[in-house]
Structure formats: C-alpha cells, structure tokens
Amino acid sequence: MPTRIDKIPAMSSSPTPDGVARSENAGDGSPMIELSEVAFGYTKARQILSGVTLSVPKGKLVAVMGGSGCGKTTILRLLCGQHAATSGRVKVSGKNIDEMSRDELFSHRRRLGMLFQFGALFTDMTVFENVAFPIREHTDLPEPVLHDLVLMKLNAVGLRGAAHLKPSELSGGMARRVALARTIALDPELVLYDEPFAGLDPISLSIVGQLIRKLNDALGMTSILVTHDIMESLKIVDYIYFIADGKVVAHGDVESIRRSTDPFVKQFVNGEPDGPVRFHYPAKPLAEAFSGASA
C-alpha cells in the first residue's frame, strides 16, 4: 500500500486536462487574472461592484479581503463565469470571460478549482465519492489509482479516516476541509478559495494555510484567497486587495500592508470597530426605523 501512495505525487499532476506542463507557465509574472473596471449587480436596483480593478499574476497567491457583504464571493462567481459583469472586463489568461464560447468556458472551468463558501458538498455521496467526483467525471483513471489519489487528497487535509462518512456526519470544519480536498482533486491551475478558514480551529487553520501556500508553490497554481483572517493571510499570501463599496480601496504586498497608515487598512488589520468600514448594511437611521415600528 505505501509504495502505491508513494508513486502518486508524480501522477497527481499528470491529469491536467490540456497536458500543459506546469513549470513552464508558472510564476512568469504575466497576469492570470485581470479585472478592469468591473461593475455588477444581482438586481438593477442595487449595484454590488462598481468598478473593481485588480490583477493576479501567474503563480501568485493573492488575498481579497473586505467587510461582510462587500462582494468578495461575487467576484469569485464572476471569475468562474456563473454571472456576467454588467460592464468592464473579466479576463482569465488574457481571454475575456464574457466572450468565451461554451467550449472555452468549459475548458476554463476544467482548469479551475473553486472552494464554495458553504462547501457545497454532494449530500448523497460519501466523503470519498465527493473528492472522487471531479476525477471520475474528467479522467479515465483506473479504480486503484483513483482510490489512492483520493486518499492522498484527504490525507492532505487530515481526513483520510473520514472517507466513508456522509457529509451530514461531518462537523462544519471537517466539511470545509473535505470541500478543500475536492477543490484541489484535479490539481487546478487556478484555485479560488472562498473562506477556507471559516470554522477551523487554530491548528487546522494554520495547517490549511500552509497547505494552500504549498499547493500554490509546488504545483505552480495561481490562487485567490477570500478570507477575513488577516493574521493568517499576512503569513501566507503574496499580495492583498481590500474591497469596500464595490471598489478596491487598498492593495499592496504583505510588508506594505503591515506598514500602511491608510485608515481603512489600519482598521482592518487591527479589527477596530470605528473607521471607514461600515458594520451596518445600508439602512434608515436607527431612530427613524424605531419610531416607524412603534407608530
């Protein structure tokens, strides 16, 4: 058994859909993702993003941070083509995602891994089958190889022993880690993590953080990390973008963020209640709302 697993690492990077060798396209600094002046709203009445411009170079690990409800998940949805921007351009590997044909979008998604904020595990399958799902759908690996590959991915998130459980039998943090294992099952070139640290204890949190960094470097992935955990982000990422009011309000590498005097960044880094970041969803003044209710 151990000999088989030992062989897997070489194998795990081979089933890339297009067969492009990673080392060649990783880390050469050309942008993998470019958003320019992207605006978007789920309804006409309320715009969520109003001109977001950011770029992620190949091979980098970039964090996107911002208050709850500022549109971070929305940005990831635009990147995997679930929604189309109302204006502006969303480019992946130099290609505008709105102009992709069905086939192009399909191949873009095969090279992409997305960790959903709420896991989105398939509730009718075991943990093992969940992680095996993308591999089964997109490759013809023989069953023993697939078996080892899945166990290896589960091992990386510390849940090899939970392979036979159903998602309903997992704790929140375990479900998060299974979802993470499924996201990286096919060694995607581009990985979007939506709050991978939510619900994790400090130990799992730092292990998962290290894992994300290691995957990024070892497999030449490009990663976007959406998180609220500024301390963990400062430890592992290359670059940070801050979003507020539908725009990028600050960005910089880890050092410049640490040293920043920008009130927004300072508030975020230190978790201060007062500052430019709103805690409340836009609403009528409190006094008005209360008198309205009692009238």
């Binding site: 679930q82 998604r109 997109h138």
Partner: protein, 266 residues
C-alpha cells in the same frame, strides 16, 4: 374604476407569467433531452434513480391498486345486481382500471410519492449550491442530476400503472368471486372476451406514458426552478403535486375524448 383596471391588469400579469413559465419549461425539456446521453451511457446513474422513483413507490401503488379494485367490485356489484348483470363484473373492473384508474391514480400517487421527492432533492441541491458547484467543475448538472431523474420517472410510471391495474383486477376478483360468490369462470371469461388488447389496454398504456412525461418534467422543472431557500423548496414541492394532479386530469380528459370517442358515438 381603478380597481377593475387593476383586476384586469392582474389577470394579464398572471397569464403572462404562466405562459412564460410554460415556455421556460418547454425549453428546459429540450435541454434535458439534449443532455440525456450521459444517462444512458452510464446506467448506474439511471439505476439509482429508478430505485428511488420506481421501487420505493411500489408499496403504495400496489396497496392502492388492490383496495381500489376491491372497492370497485363492491360498488359495481350494487349496480350490476339491479340489472341482473353480475357476470359482467370482470369487464367492469378491468375496463375501469385499465382505461382510467390505473394510469390516473398511479400517476397521482407517483406525483405525490416520487415527484415531490425529486423536486425537493433537486431544489435542495440548488439551495446548497451543489448544482452550482457541479457547473463550476465543468459538469453539466442537467446531464448529471436532472436527466437521470427525469428518465427514471418516465420509465417507472408506466410499469407502476400496469402493476396498479393488475393488482386492482386481482382485488376485484377477490371481492367478486371469493367474497360475493360470482362465478369465477364468468368473471374471467367475460373479461377476456370484452377487453380489447389494442383498444383498451394499449390506450391505457399510452395514457400512462404521457402522464409519465408530464409528471417527470414537472417534478424536475419545479426543483431546478425553485427559489433557493427553505420556503422556495417547500413551495416548489407543493406546486409539483398540485400541477401534476391538474395536468394528469386535464390530459386524461383530452386523451379520453380522442381515444374512446368511438363508443360515445355508438
């Protein structure tokens, strides 16, 4: 004046909404049929759904069939005995079941037992972003989730309807022959002589196939189209049962007019 105008406007809006949904459902059907290749290339997907939709509906369908047949015989005896025609009992039971009650009641039961479950399952998969996750993994959820459930429904219901009728006839036999004491030979003999294979049985089968398409489409469509919230899924489940019932009964009327009008004209 304004109230009346608003009332008319309301009717207009509702009608337009209903027609738009019908159009949407039709396009959905086309998408499902187009994406059906996977279902038949990977029979394991289909078998799992056949078990859930078909096999798990067996008990309720068989039990109902038996009791409906027994009641038919009891009620039929009441009427037939007045005309001294009790030996026509077998014909009465068989024709009622094969032409009407089999397809219709099995369809109604199937909609509430399996259709509602399909809607709830697909709706919940949508709510918990499982369908979105598939899409992002470059797996078409219509091919992977919707089509197998749709075809499982289409395949199961005609068999369930046939079993319903069979058990119903057996129930009728139990009451008529074993309980009331009508002559068994007359019961089966008259039935065999009067029930026409093509005219009665095949038309009943056609009905059940049409119902199967209607109920399966409604079930998967309502699930896929559900508002992704708890209330949304619960409302969609209710709509599946109600819409299926209305669809079965109206389609049944239309089909009956076309299939059996010969006997009306004499």
């Amino acid at each position: 004046m304004n109230a009346i105008l608003n009332w008319f406007a309301g009717i207009g809006v509702t009608t337009r909404g209903a027609i738009a949904r019908l159009g949407f459902a039709t396009r959905f059907l086309v998408a499902v049929v187009k994406a059906s290749g996977t279902t038949f290339l990977r029979p394991r997907l289909l078998i799992r759904e056949l078990y859930h939709a078909g096999v798990l509906s067996l008990v309720i369908v068989l039990m109902s069939g038996l009791f409906v047949g027994m009641v038919l015989a009891l009620q039929g005896y009441e009427t037939l005995v007045r005309f001294g025609a009790t030996e026509a009992m077998g014909v009465l039971v068989a024709l009622s079941l094969v032409r009407e009650l089999g397809p219709v009641v099995a369809g109604l039961l199937f909609a509430s037992r399996a259709g509602s479950a399909i809607t709830a399952e697909i709706g919940l998969m949508k709510t918990t972003e499982q369908l979105a996750a598939m899409e992002v993994m470059a797996v078409n959820p219509i091919a992977r989730v919707v089509a197998p459930r749709f075809w499982a429904g289409v395949i199961s219901l005609p068999f369930l309807a046939a079993l319903f009728s069979t058990l119903g006839i057996y129930g009728g036999y139990l009451v008529a022959v074993k309980l009331i004491g009508i002559d068994g030979g007359a019961f089966w003999g008259q039935m065999q002589a009067a029930v026409d294979w093509r005219y009665d049985v095949m038309n009943g089968v056609i009905k059940s196939i049409v119902f199967a398409f209607a109920v399966s489409l409604i079930a998967v469509f309502e699930g896929y189209d559900a508002t992704p919230t708890a209330e949304g899924v619960s409302a969609a489940t209710t709509r599946t049962v109600v819409t299926s019932a209305l669809a079965i009964l109206t389609i049944d009327f239309v089909l009956t007019v076309f299939m059996f009008r010969g006997s009306v004209n004499g």
